[in-house]
Point group: C2
Chain length 347, copies 2
């Protein structure tokens, strides 16, 4: 198995994502990052390490004429070769205001719609540590505060536009937040924490698979391109490991912010109030239950999405019974509260 | 009163610094930042808004030959014109390793020694929001994590080298931390939160006072100079308010880190254990008592350094009696604990 695939497998495990029985959409632009992700997912399927329905999704925003159509054709050929499914979207992108941002809004709208149509469990994107570093710098320049410096998350819910104010954060996060969709579809970025662009390019090369270059990636009219092409090389002169350094900073910031989240009290409390939980948005409900279980159990090991969903059903549905079974324990609904009970170990 | 002086007065008040009866050392290189600070402090003295013993301190590291001597002469002339006191230091700076850092170590060593000789209450430096922005960027590049992104503090203790690991933070912080000195001398940066370089230059200009240019500030061999001369102008193209933005980020980070400090539990507890307090370094003792009093009283208003010192004496000296009086209440030493009691309001 290629080291790249091995790393993806490790990350998939550490994100507690399921290995079978779901539909996973892989967003593929045709660039090295998304192509390498699609290749590696297919490789895992072939090896039976993963047994999902994998659907590539490509959005042709037609901003670059023949080049855009070439990207689409490339992704069509690639998925045919891989014997996989493909969803193609064509869309008008508004040229009012920030073109880059409009393109992203349209693309995520298509991904959301595709996820809804296919009842997908997750949309996976090929964001790398390079993207994370660029996001940190963009947010620093923009002044989006500690939250912005924490960059993108490796896993989050594709949530409602109403759920959070995204004013402060720039990058893909805000757009993911602006699309409404099936509340429980996840956005996962399984390359974010470990793969650099050279790794995605290297894995494509080792697999003898071509990838496309996006000429918009060369246009320094875009802030992100200026960061990538001008700012980062300058910083690299001062610190050759600047990409890893910035990605690591983002991860430290996520830890710090998590410790400080307003839901902190509930996270460490023995019980959760059902009426409090019911007042939360789907995304906040997930973000409350997951760390609470983590804290009560002392670990998220063996905890899968289905377990969190079972706890969510306890909260939301009167017909859901009184307990949700988890590895090593259970959550009990009683007297308007959720309580976690560890399983007794029989001697 | 010039707006610059008014701003300094406001900041001095909001840092809860005393207005009379102490010796304050002002570190003066001869550049616009430190000259403006010295001028403004003298102006406040003349107007009786401040009644301290003000001593300018200049360190001639003799790295730039006649230019260094010119700086010294300039500072001599300036303090003579102002009718103020001056301490001059000459020192050998090691040329092994990082020259900029060695110069700073030598300079801070001199400031520490001067503070000790004069039993100074504080050393004040002319660091501006520009310096803060540069420090944030330096620490970002260096990867010093959330702590580094919080930049310099407007007030801290000049502490023992043994007190903290300074490995992670670059900038003046680490050097201030590496000098041993009278434990309770403060390092204060009363321009840090509001003054930009254009303000210090403008105030010097309005006061018809010249200042010196340091040619080392032009040498891009120094990382800080590269940040100032190359990186910041680039970022300014993307965000014209980049200095304020970065300084504001540092301040948000300080707030976040303060909320997360390991001494958090004690901060909000009703009582502090004397034996715990006695195990702390002078700097940590100060950093524990100040926020605890803040929390117990609900405010730091009217709280002066002498009040914190009185509480420290309660902790450290068996002869200090049982109570320390504060505005609006008192701290009582009893049964191995410190307790805060609010004064009863008589009806």
């Amino acid at each position: 198995m290629h080291q790249f695939v091995r790393n993806l497998l490790t990350e998939w495990r550490s994100l507690h994502l399921p290995f079978a029985g779901e539909t996973v959409i892989v967003a593929v632009s045709g660039g090295a990052d998304s192509v390498s992700l699609l290749l590696a997912m297919h490789d895992l399927q072939k090896r039976k390490k993963m047994e999902h329905r994998i659907v590539a999704a490509h959005f042709n925003h037609r901003l670059r004429g023949a080049e855009s159509d070439g990207d689409e054709e490339f992704v069509r050929d690639l998925t045919t070769r891989l014997g996989g499914e493909l969803a193609i979207g064509h869309g008008a992108v508004s040229t009012d205001g920030n073109l880059e941002q409009n393109a992203r809004v349209a693309r995520y709208g298509f991904l959301r719609q595709t996820a809804a149509n296919l009842h997908a469990f997750a949309v996976a994107t090929g964001h790398t540590t390079n993207d994370q570093a660029e996001t940190v710098l963009l947010n620093l320049v923009r002044g989006s505060g500690p939250e912005g410096l924490s960059g993108m998350k490796a896993i989050r819910i594709l949530s409602d536009p109403s759920e959070k104010s995204e004013e402060r954060v720039y990058g893909d996060e805000d757009l993911a937040g602006h699309i409404s969709g099936p509340a429980k579809t996840l956005l996962v970025r399984p390359l974010l924490s470990w793969a650099k662009r050279i790794h995605t390019e290297g894995y494509c090369h080792d697999s003898a698979i071509e990838y496309r270059y996006d000429t918009m990636n060369e246009d320094t009219a875009f802030r992100r391109v200026r960061i990538r092409k001008i700012l980062l090389p300058l910083l690299e002169d001062m610190n050759p490991k600047i990409i890893e350094t910035l990605a690591n900073t983002a991860s430290l910031m996520q830890g710090l912010i998590e410790k400080n989240a307003p839901r902190d009290p509930s996270r460490t409390s023995d019980e959760l109030s059902l009426s409090d939980l019911r007042s939360l948005s789907p995304s906040d409900l997930f973000d409350t239950i997951r760390p609470w279980l983590h804290h009560r159990r002392g670990t998220t090991r063996q905890l899968q999405l289905k377990h969190i969903k079972a706890v969510e059903r306890l909260v939301l549905s009167p017909k859901s019974g009184r307990t949700a079974e988890l590895p090593g324990g259970k959550v009990i609904k009683s007297a308007g509260k959720l309580v976690y009970k560890e399983n007794k170990v029989e001697n």
